[in-house]
């Protein structure tokens, strides 16, 4: 067969695979926003607002284009999800071509091909590409609006481009492929940095091409060069451009009194001019090409202008407000997330270093770079240093600290079951034990094996036997792996849609493929080195770099898609290996090739049979509707404010505001951001129909570094009272009419210009409105953070006509001083002046639950409800249960029944299984005489708790500690169900379970 014919077949088969992937992804795409960062990305794309650091400006541009294709705002999310689906299919396309290109070289095909060769080469491509299409992690990000689909596409593209360059390398104009690669890598920074990790593998390709043979030494040299290149781009080139820009900006604005941004714009012009000039002078081809690569890399990087320009417009969503080069520097270097020591630094248990200062010992600080902000005086154009960065100095440091985060001290101890320490830091062996057992095995290999061996379920795992482990699907092995009897799983686990088993066949195929590649001569060994480099750089290297502490808020498998991509190349090549084996059994090479191709195809088919049900997100509107319900929980009058906290608590609300334009009279105030000055700035601006929040401070009062924490000193209370008694006039002049009125304390103490007065001199403050007095107790607290001060400031004006709500998922630690003043109105508590513990506003909650809430299509049978959606759905059930209880208490059985029926209709148990909240539901049915329905609920709870408790007892004792929570929870549910059955004399239910309840 001629090259031309082969190329045609190869191109067409590639597009066929693309179409398969695209159709499947488009069929399973989520029709609206998904949880986590997706609602944020959708809003950023649609309205060009600013999301979390380090930003994704190029993604925003492309997403924006797709959002324009939507017929109305409710379709915007779907269109941007479709973008992910198409880009993922594009990634599959390039994966296919990458595999066929590599395999072609392994067969040494040049110009002519035999039929069996063509069959095997194409089969390698199809099997590898489809296996990746149907793999768990990749499919997950292919059907939602995250940057990972785009980033995967770009990774696949540049990897293919460099191989393509190698094909044409001897051609005089082949350099354009290298330049294009540099340009795309520049663009990819505006999507996600992951793409840069291809660099070492790419250098290896170039190096291998130049030397034509690969020794250990030359491979090492090439990798070293690749690593240095990566470090230069990541740590010198990108930050260097910004550093230069910030110097110029200071020079232009502060010294030469030119307008803002002039220095930055000049830097950009100058930079391009210098490179162009050098390009004209350059003679040697290598230097010319390198300069062109640099030039176009910077052109790609220029998409970051979108961030500065749009942030300058001060949109409602403007995270970190990167509207000048100094803020952009901290935004792009992700300063917000704190420093992670890699080589040398403190451990989580390291003691601070102290130095004497007068009579006290104070923590030693290392001063860092100055932080510049625009002058708060708008008539003056200059940058001012607000403070210098401060870093604590630790007494005990160690090399390669793996347990470093002080916030996670308990988490480390828990994971390790106690840590042996020496000289104030964990011993070397403990350090490595954590690195291996948690970071490498739990946070990398577990995810890897999920994709190619099997996944236990979709429940977030922290090492418990019942949550998110990898399994093989072979009972004997799994019993040993998990240390329990997997034959008698509770139905909740065995029917979990996230349970996918592949019997390790894709893994074995991949290993076989890698081995086969290794054995195909010099070319094969060179290829293996390249793919292996990609595999390690996008897998284990990220593990080392991220240095993750335990108990992350969600599973992190999506970070490692690149390494699963590399492994899929080997899965594809497995067909070549199988063919080599089959040929020994079947003489005719064409038949042998066909048989191995068919055998290979079984792998992706088996995979999709497992993964379809937990990746089909069609018909699911939960994220959008739950965000809507948070907003609708607030009353319509008075421009209410809602305090929220985590990602899933906030981003769906943003989506409803920014994209669908829902409840623009309300404002979301995220408590984890409100600690920062840029967010308080935004809260002090009007947004849509919502007026500014009532924060009447001077800018310097909340500027970065000021009033971050304010101590509470109840001991001063008596002194204050004495002062008011002895010199009332002077006291009132100094500290206001009422000493402990919140307004006065904030004004005269906390925001005072005297540093010694920056305390709260009492543990109980009052807010007086007319005759009413609200008392807020701060007892037991040592200090208040800036975010608490903001909440108190908003309350201190006593303006109850503008209600403030706290979202239901706000943790109890977030606003503990308000726990006495919360009134439930749906998915949010209203903060009320009267005290009296948490209570329920039955009328409002009823109205919201029955008429204003939407339930995300959860009534549809066969819908995929994942763990995070289940969590919020259960919160809705919890609210309904409270409402039912309150209505029953009032004797309003009719409305209680209406709520119960709504629950059964909107959040039915086949999608949202009953939990302890369902006991209220059952009680309601018993009270109203609908015993059959009540019995069904109690029976369901008894059956499932029995299944759980029986199974939990099969866990071997060394691993059972992690399951204590499940055990306690299901014991309580069983107890609750039995008690209910007893109260209503359901003897047959008790009799059935009498033997089992002895557990």
């Amino acid at each position: 067969m001629q090259q031309k014919v082969f190329s045609l077949i190869d191109t067409l088969t590639g597009w066929l695979v693309f179409v398969i992937a695209a159709v499947i992804y488009c069929l399973t795409v989520e029709p609206t926003a998904s949880l986590w960062d997706c609602p944020e990305f959708i809003s950023c794309g649609y309205k060009l607002e600013i999301g979390h650091p380090p930003g994704a400006p190029f993604y925003m541009l492309v997403a924006n284009l797709f959002s324009q294709l939507a017929s109305d705002p409710s379709q915007v999310a779907w269109m941007i999800n479709i973008l992910s689906a198409l880009l993922s299919a594009g990634c599959i396309l390039f994966l296919f071509w990458t595999i066929t290109l590599l395999t072609r070289h392994l067969y040494g095909c040049h110009e002519t091909y035999t039929l069996p060769q063509v069959i095997v080469i194409e089969a390698c491509g199809v099997v590898g590409a489809l296996a990746y299409t149907f793999s768990d992690t990749f499919w997950f990000s292919a059907v939602e609006s995250e940057v990972y689909a785009f980033s995967s596409f770009l990774t696949a593209l540049v990897f293919w481009l460099i191989l393509h360059w190698e094909e044409e390398a001897d051609h005089p104009q082949s350099d354009r492929w290298l330049i294009l690669t540099a340009y795309i890598i520049g663009l990819s920074v505006g999507v996600h940095l992951l793409c840069l990790l291809c660099l070492p593998a790419m250098v290896l390709v170039v190096y291998g091409h130049k030397t034509q043979r690969l020794t250990w030494w030359s491979a090492f040299k090439a990798l070293l060069v690749g690593g240095i290149l990566l470090a230069v781009v990541l740590y010198m080139l990108i930050p260097g451009v910004l550093l230069l820009g910030s110097w110029m900006e200071l020079l232009f604005v502060n010294v030469m009194h030119l307008p803002y941004q002039s220095g930055l714009i000049c830097t950009v012009i100058l930079l391009f001019a210098v490179i162009l000039f050098a390009l004209m002078k350059a003679k040697r081809r290598v230097i010319k090409t390198s300069l062109q690569c640099l030039f176009f890399f910077l052109v790609g990087l220029s998409s970051y202008a979108v961030i500065i320009i749009r942030s300058s417009a001060q949109p409602p969503m403007d995270e970190n407000s990167p509207d000048h080069v100094f803020a952009l520097r901290s935004y792009m270097s992700r300063e917000q997330y704190g420093e992670t020591p890699l080589l040398y630094g403190p451990a989580y248990c390291s003691e601070l270093d102290y130095e004497p200062q007068g009579d006290y010992q104070v923590a030693k600080m290392r001063e860092g770079a100055p932080i510049y902000q625009r002058s708060s005086n708008p008539s003056e154009q200059r940058y001012e240093v607000v403070r210098r960065q401060q870093h604590y100095v630790y007494r005990d440091n160690m090399w390669f600290p793996r347990m470093h985060s002080q916030l996670h001290a308990n988490a480390y101890e828990q994971w390790m079951g106690g840590v042996t320490k020496k000289n104030g830091v964990p011993t070397i062996s403990e350090n490595w034990r954590f690195f291996w057992s948690y970071q490498v095995c739990h946070m990398y290999w577990r995810y890897f094996l999920w994709n190619f061996v099997g996944r236990q379920n979709n429940i977030k795992g922290n090492g418990e036997v019942e949550h998110g482990n990898w399994i093989t699907g072979v009972r004997l092995i799994d019993d040993i792996l998990l240390g329990c009897d997997t034959a008698h799983l509770p139905s909740d686990l065995s029917s979990n849609k996230g349970r996918n088993v592949y019997y390790a066949i894709p893994l074995l195929m991949g290993l076989l493929g890698g081995y086969w590649q290794w054995r195909r001569g010099t070319r094969g060994r060179r290829q293996l080195a390249v793919v292996l480099t990609l595999f390690i750089m996008t897998g284990l290297a990220i593990v080392v770099y991220l240095n993750q502490p335990p108990q992350p808020p969600r599973e992190r498998d999506y970070v490692y898609v690149g390494s699963f991509y590399a492994f899929s190349i080997w899965i594809g090549m497995g067909v070549g290996a199988v063919d080599a084996i089959v040929r020994r059994l079947i003489r005719c090479p064409s038949w042998a090739a066909a048989v191995s191709a068919l055998l290979g195809l079984l792998i992706p088919l088996q995979m999709v049979s497992q993964t379809w049900d937990d990746h089909d997100r069609s018909g699911r509107y939960a994220c959008r509707d739950f965000g809507h319900n948070y907003l609708e929980s607030m009353q319509r009058e008075g421009h209410p404010i809602i305090l929220t906290n985590g990602d899933n608590d906030t981003f769906p609300l943003w989506y409803n505001h920014e994209v669908e334009g829902q409840r623009l009279d309300t404002r979301d105030c995220n408590l984890s951001y409100v600690q920062t000055d840029w967010y308080i700035d935004q809260m002090r601006r009007p947004a849509y129909d919502s007026p500014p929040l009532p924060i009447h401070w001077r800018r310097e009062d909340y500027q970065d570094g000021n009033n971050e924490v304010v101590p509470i000193r109840p001991a001063l209370k008596q002194q204050v009272l004495d002062f008011y008694r002895d010199e009332p006039e002077e006291a009132k002049r100094k500290f206001g009419e009422e000493p402990f009125e919140l307004k006065n304390i904030l004004h005269h103490w906390v925001m005072s210009d005297h540093p010694e007065l920056k305390v709260i001199p009492t543990d109980s403050v009052t807010i007086t409105t007319g005759d009413e007095q609200m008392v807020i107790s701060l007892a037991g607290r040592q200090m208040l953070y800036k975010k608490d001060l903001v909440v108190l400031e908003m309350l201190s004006h006593g303006d109850w006509s503008r209600p403030i709500y706290a979202s239901i998922s706000l943790g109890p630690d977030e606003v503990p001083y308000l726990s006495d003043h919360l009134s439930l109105e749906g998915m949010a508590y209203r903060i009320v002046p009267t005290s009296g513990g948490r209570r329920v506003d039955v009328e409002r909650t009823y109205e919201n639950v029955m008429h204003r809430f939407r339930y995300g299509g959860l009534s549809r049978r066969g819908l995929y409800v994942d763990d995070d959606i289940l969590y919020t759905a259960h919160t809705h059930q919890y609210v309904m249960a409270i409402l039912i209880d309150s209505l029953l208490e009032q004797g309003d059985t009719q409305r209680a029944l209406a709520v119960a029926d709504k629950w059964q209709r909107e959040l039915p148990s086949y999608n949202v299984p009953y939990t302890e909240s369902a006991l209220s539901l059952a009680r309601c049915y018993y009270v109203t005489g609908r015993t059959q329905e009540a019995d069904a609920i109690v029976e369901n709870l008894l059956r499932r708790s029995h299944e759980w408790l029986t199974w939990l007892q099969t866990i071997k004792s060394s691993r059972s500690a992690g399951s204590a929570y499940s055990f306690q929870r299901w014991s309580q549910i069983m107890q609750g169900a039995l008690t209910l059955a007893q109260i209503y004399h359901r003897d047959h239910l008790l009799k059935d379970k009498s033997n089992e309840s002895s557990i």
Partner: protein, 63 residues
């Protein structure tokens, strides 16, 4: 020559896109609905994107 022309056109697209994207912003006193005008969040980003894509054509264009 044609190659250079394409690259310059692409660069112009990007720069004009950025210029169209700019404009006044919201302040503490008033919310500025113009920040979401068609010029700034529809035409401008489309122009920039067209420029970035055209740049690829320019790079690949044979001399």
């Amino acid at each position: 020559m044609k190659k250079t022309l394409i690259i310059i056109t692409a660069a112009l697209f990007i720069i004009v896109g950025f210029i169209l994207m700019s404009g006044p912003g919201s302040t503490a006193e008033a919310f500025c609905p113009d920040i979401f005008s068609t010029r700034r969040i529809v035409i401008a980003p489309a122009l920039c994107l067209a420029g970035y894509l055209l740049m690829m054509v320019g790079i690949l264009w044979r001399k």
